[in-house]
Amino acid sequence: MTEPDIEIIEQVLGGNIPAFAEIIDRYQQRVYSLCVRILRNPEDAEEAASDAFLKAYKALETFRRDSEFPTWLFRIAYNSAISRLRQRRSKPEAQAPELSDREQFEERLYEINSALGRIADKERREIIRKALEQLGPQEAAIVSLYYFEDNSVAEISGITGLSKSNVKIKLFRARLTMGDYLSKILKNELKYI
């Protein structure tokens, strides 16, 4: 049975420093994934993830037991990646295409999903990777936290420091941007739907 995070944290605070390796093993993929979506560079992402774990270790004493550890850790990782991004020249947030008809957009999403189902796995993964790369760093982080980490809008607001309505807007814009990109890439497949 997996030991709860809080018990490992107690062990680390009690002097069992090597127990922190278990925390790293548990969350490294998710933390790295968030960092790589923001930074889009494996080396930078690894350094940001490493910084995030070190900062988490240093601040472990301040972790409030009544809060969710992954959310707390993602907040540190998000800030770590964003500050690293600011150190280098950051790419501006992508402009979402204008779309007035929401129903039309939702219908298009179903078509895109259906078209993706007819593409080979490897190619499909590459298309999705490129679609994610169309997003600005902040939008990519929000998509990652919402769809991959299953965080709520309120939790993402806590992690990023953005207001809930701002998170919702950025999420919607991200979907528009990705949907628009996928429509263009899958133009040929969409013809047959």
């Binding site: 605070l13 009690g14 002097g15 420093i17 090597p18 922190f20 390796a21 790293i24 093993d25 490294q28 993929q29 790295y32 994934s33 790589v36 979506r37 494996p42 992402a45 690894e46 993830a49 490493s50 774990f53 070190l54 270790y57 240093k58 472990l60 004493e61 939702e106 999403l109 179903y110 895109i112 999903n113 993706l116 796995d121 499909r124 993964r125 590459e126 999705i128 990777r129 994610l132 998509v143 919402y146 769809y147 991959f148 919702k168 979907r175 990705m178 996928l182």
Partner: protein, 134 residues
């Protein structure tokens, strides 16, 4: 948003999985251990400074209070075989100290105890912070 979320989750299910280098944990742990050597983040001892201060105050009071209330009477000579042998310069030094305490004794001893206690507290406070990070 929920429908949209579901369909997008379906679309993104095929996104490539990003994983860090295999030695990622080892590298981070190296940083963590060197950090822990340079600065402990472990839970601080449950000992509080307050009881230590009270103890110091009591010790200071116990040691110095008799000196303040009684007159110092340090002889300037030692009697050996009925001959008085002067003990200078040691006796001079003791006499000076004796005079100092006598002059202090004329003050209210309580104030002196408090003053000495505060000085001792400041010194101990510095020692605890520097040595034990309490």
């Amino acid at each position: 948003m929920s429908n949209n979320k579901d369909i997008f989750r379906d679309i993104l299910r095929n996104s490539p999985e990003d994983t860090p280098a295999p030695d990622f944990t080892d590298k981070v742990m190296q940083r963590v251990i060197s950090e822990s050597i340079s600065k402990s983040v472990l839970r601080k001892p449950s000992i509080s400074r307050f009881p230590i201060y009270i103890s110091i105050l009591l010790i200071v009071a116990a040691v110095f209070f008799p000196a303040f209330v009684g007159k110092s009477d340090i002889p300037k000579t030692a009697s050996v075989l009925d001959y008085d042998i002067p003990l200078s310069p040691v006796s001079d030094a003791l006499a000076t100290v004796s005079q100092f305490w006598s002059s202090l004794a004329s003050l209210d001893s309580l104030y002196l105890i408090i003053a000495l206690g505060v000085l001792a507290l400041l010194a101990i406070d510095l020692l605890l912070k520097r040595s034990f990070n309490i």
